[in-house]
């Protein structure tokens, strides 16, 4: 969901927000896209990600209701931490929409229970203290963090921020349940515009192949 002030985003996603808003995208358009996607792909999980103000401006109940009607499964809101959960969390939970929270390198053991309380769907581990699309975390720090998170929760853990290559995705897939890739895809869209579907499909397929082969090797190793 585009927002005029994407404070947690790096240059690629900032530009994407501006392009989208300059093209006239409204919240109604986003739910129309979501509804159409859900009709075409009944089984693919669908998550909206964005900032608090566009999600709450008409009231949390309105937003949760729109999510249900459009077939949205979950919501990631960048700037509503557990301390402000009342702003959005209760409305989503009572509508049966997952509120997907973020854990970061600054989320220590004392903080983690607050993040997990009320989280569902999956836990999004933001592997870099920073903005989207720039640095990447060292694989060892990701492994350590994911192990810590998985010891604290049963919900799946996905890892993102700075993930670009099939090799990185495969390495993360060995320890985590999901890999989040944003800026790299957004850059392909910026580059190819209306013709982006092909290049995006090809790129995502390359990530998926690497992840599948990582999982396959992992299973083979287990059998041996």
């Amino acid at each position: 969901m585009p927002f005029t002030d994407p404070m947690a985003d790096g240059p690629a996603i900032q530009k994407a927000n501006i392009r989208s808003l300059e093209a006239g995208t409204t919240t109604a358009d986003i739910f129309a896209h979501a509804t159409a996607f859900r009709a075409r792909h009944p089984q693919v999980p669908l998550v909206l990600m964005g900032y608090a103000n566009p999600m709450t401006i008409r009231g949390a109940d309105w937003f949760a209701d729109q999510c249900v009607k459009a077939g949205v499964d979950g919501v990631i809101c960048v700037d509503i931490p557990p301390e402000e959960d009342a702003e959005l969390g209760p409305a989503l939970r009572s509508a049966g929409v997952d509120l997907i929270r973020l854990a970061t390198p600054t989320s220590d053991a004392a903080r983690l229970p607050a993040i997990l309380d009320g989280s569902s769907g999956f836990l999004y581990y933001v592997s870099v203290a920073g903005i989207t699309g720039l640095q990447q975390a060292a694989q060892s720090s990701i492994e350590e963090a994911v192990a810590r998170l998985k010891a604290a929760t049963d919900i799946p853990v996905a890892v993102g921020f700075g993930v670009r290559t099939p090799e990185q995705a495969a390495a993360i897939a060995k320890v985590a349940d999901g890999v989040v890739v944003g800026s790299a895809i957004v850059e392909l869209v910026a580059q190819h515009g209306a013709n982006a579907a092909g290049p995006v499909r090809e790129y995502v397929a390359s990530l998926k192949a690497a992840i599948n082969s990582a999982w396959l090797n992992f299973e083979v190793r287990l059998k041996i």
Binding site: T4, D5, M7, T27, Y51, E84, T104, S107, D108
Partner: protein, 404 residues
């Protein structure tokens, strides 16, 4: 007329323990920043009751900043404004002259307090946003004073229109980063500062320049700026043995205004008026969030914002770079809702007229920000009308109050 009664119904005990002023304020930040925001809250609570912290803050305000700032009776402006009033009526106008502080604005009060907190927390790098450049200059100043590296984010448009302040920041050793996202003004500078902060949480302290941002910033900025109102209150009592009838202050984020108003909030007889920037007019481009906006979430807090029906933030406009912001400090939103403070607005043109009026009548060249507050008084729409004898006081670059 001495110390306000600390009754249970005090207007001065906000925010609550979660950082909310009624429905406003709060901590709407990315998870990466939350532990740091909580650390800052803990550290500020400890500092508030630490006599050594208070002693160091007071000492620097007195000997480095040059406080207390004078309270000045603007005699010729008073006469000028009385020309339009019935005989024997009209306000007496007083100025709280915070433009005489070191660095030329009230911004330094807050920067002294925040850099002392940064040092207490062991932070070694300072960042800040700035609009007109006054907060940037004040931040660069305290960084030079305490030997800490300093990065200032400033909208590219503001870098252009506020060149002298850019030069001063550089002289003081700060790195000035022009921000080219959005409308290239204060809002965008704040976004960029938040992006820096989230990437450098371990060693960096963000000195926010106004009563905005996540809790505890609106509270601590207000507390550091309250020196304006505390002094003004004592000075009024000592000069004319009474409190003013009306305080007037210009508002962008509103740190000068809340600093002036807060110590008076429980003085029932003292009215208060905050002046927003109406830019080209409230029906055109402006920066009056209370007059033309509605509650929303931006930059860590919930407050009145200029925005469209989808919650996309609008571009503000004011001739004054320091008022060119589509939001307002959350405590002002609360004070508006409960009706303790009245808010009105003044256009670019009215502010420019008031600027000239003050130059000619008092020999004081004001900034464009307080020119908005002066305009509200000059046009006699300050809530007192022009039919009252008495006194009023300006807080310079800040506010103004007004006795009948």
């Amino acid at each position: 007329m001495n110390t306000p009664d600390p009754s249970l119904n005090s207007f001065r005990n906000q925010p609550d323990e979660r950082g909310h002023f009624g429905q406003f304020g709060g901590r709407y930040v990315a998870e990466t920043l939350m532990p740091l925001v909580l650390d800052l809250e803990r550290e500020y609570k400890a500092a508030k009751i630490d006599p050594a912290f208070k002693a160091q803050f007071d000492d620097l305000l007195e000997h480095y900043v040059g406080r207390p700032s004078p309270l000045y009776y603007a005699e010729r402006l008073t006469e000028e404004c009385r020309k339009n009033a019935p005989s024997g009526k009209g306000a007496q106008i007083w100025f709280k002259r915070d433009e005489l502080n070191h660095t030329g604005a009230h911004k330094i009060n807050n920067c002294i307090g925040q850099i002392l907190l940064a040092i207490r927390m062991g932070k070694t790098r300072i960042i800040a946003e700035t609009g007109a450049g006054q907060h940037g200059v004040a931040t660069a100043t305290v960084c030079a004073r305490f030997g800490l590296p300093c990065v200032i984010y400033m909208g590219a448009k503001d870098v252009e229109r506020q060149q002298p302040n850019v030069f001063r920041m550089k002289l003081l050793g700060a790195e000035v980063v022009p921000v080219t996202s959005g409308a290239n003004t204060l809002k965008d500078a704040m976004n960029e500062a938040l992006r820096d902060w989230v990437a450098n949480v371990h060693d960096t302290f963000y000195i926010i320049g106004t009563t905005a941002g996540p809790h505890p910033y609106p509270e601590l900025v207000r507390d550091f700026q309250s020196v304006i109102g505390k002094e003004a209150r004592a000075q009024m009592l000592s000069r004319i043995n009474r409190l003013p009838d009306l305080l007037v202050a210009a508002i962008g984020g509103g740190s000068n205004a809340i600093g002036l108003f807060h110590p008076f909030l429980d003085d029932e007889a003292v009215q208060m008026l905050g002046i927003e920037a109406a830019g080209h007019g409230l029906d055109k481009e402006h920066a009056a969030s209370l007059a033309g906006g509605r509650p929303g979430i931006l930059h860590g807090n919930k407050t009145y914002l200029l925005q469209d029906e989808d919650g996309q933030i609008a571009e503000a406009h004011s001739i004054s770079a320091g008022l060119d912001y589509p939001g307002i400090g959350p405590e002002h939103s609360w004070l508006k809702e409960i009706g303790r403070v009245r808010y009105d607005s003044v256009t670019d043109t009215e502010a420019l007229d008031a600027f000239q009026l003050l130059c000619r009548t008092e020999g004081i060249i004001p900034a464009l920000e307080p020119s908005h507050a002066i305009a509200a008084v000059a046009r006699g729409e300050d809530g007192s009308g022009s039919d009252h004898p008495g006194q009023s006081v300006w807080a310079w670059r800040q506010g103004y109050f007004h006795c009948r």
